[in-house]
Amino acid sequence: MAFWNKDDKNSPLSEDKVLGVLKQVQDPDLRKDIVTLGFIRNLKIDSGKVSFDLNLTTPACPVKDQMRDQAIALVKGLPGVENVDVKMTSEVRAMPQLDKSALKGVRNIVAVGSGKGGVGKSTIAVNIAASLGAAGARVGLLDGDIYGPTTPIMLGLELPPKSVGNRMIPQESNGLKFISMGLLVKSDQPLIWRGPMAHKALQQCLFDVDWGELDYLIVDLPPGTGDVHLTLAQAVPLTGAVIVSTPQDVGLRISMKTLRMFQQTRVPILGIVENMSYYICPHCNSRDHIFGHGGGQRAAEQLGIPFLGEVPLDLAIRTQSDIGKPIVIAQPDAPSARTLREIAEKVAAQVSIRTFEAPVLEVE
């Protein structure tokens, strides 16, 4: 071993040495090490005490704890280190094109869609949004389901939003900023709109709302592939879309159409969520796959897109939705809440990947 070797045990502790060992920590989603990714901030060495911030791309990072523990263990292994203090911070990256649009305070827009109605799309959208909010992200939820808005009930907000001048002020509930297209009309009246009206209403809910600074704006879409979908894909650069389906083959086959529509408009698919995956009998705890099993997983594998998880038919999800308190907020330790939170974390991880990979489109 040469005397100038950086690992020489007798040389004093240096920033280079600390960064050298931290380079061994990989972000499994972004597939690069945390030093190259620029995640290490405020590195300080005070004799044997090392402190730094680990600045991730989302507060809802699914592998946050592993990365922190691995970083601490590696730095502690360096000779001369007595104490390691790591502060976890996060900064959600913005989708490249968004900063130039009217939504410049919004970093990512994620659509939640399904092929047919009644698959629990709004339940999933609300719980993903609430989970990200609970993790510390700034989250907005736009309920774009004009034909049957259920999201207001799930958040306990059934009054129309207030306006200041010609700007709407989003309502706040369960840590989310919220606007519902359905609340722009009276709640007990059916909404019969032609395409151009749906188009106009969505544009208003995007651009005429004071969203402020948001890490994620989740858009709950109506079922199918209609005007709202197309307007959304054309009006803003979406970071991606989440597809919700039931395990049943029919449900999945229709979801494929929604998926293809997003692909045609170059909206990345962040993954498939299988809802109503199974039913756990409250009496005997046996698991029943009422709508079949594994359909979502198989479809995701065939299409080469991430499978985000299986959500059971759970009475608690429904009762929490009905009283306006999403299960991830009201009963965060319930098994279904854990599942939903893991799905939200996977969505956040996929968003991070997309913001690194997204092509920068420039028009001069």
């Binding site: 894909a233 054309q234 650069p237 979406l238 408009t265 909206v267 489109l361 028009v363």
Partner: protein
Amino acid sequence: MIIWADGQDSRYIAPRLRGMCPCASCKDEMTGTRIILPIHIPDNLEFRKIELVGQYALQFEWSDGHRTGIYSFEYLRELADSASRGLDDSGHRAE
């Protein structure tokens, strides 16, 4: 001119591109037959405005006021590629 991610660049001539507008008033939606052809467009037509549509297309506003055509990047690349093979009547040249 478009510079593509693969390094190729394609040049478009305004009146020719206007003549290949994919919108429903320039091209029959059911049959795909062109209603407006490049020969219908005056040579002095110009680009007035170019906007991004989501992340999949460009929308042009032309000096004749027309602005409903959404040209997907796939379509734009197709036009350039077929022009460079000398196959189409749009008159584009990939340089």
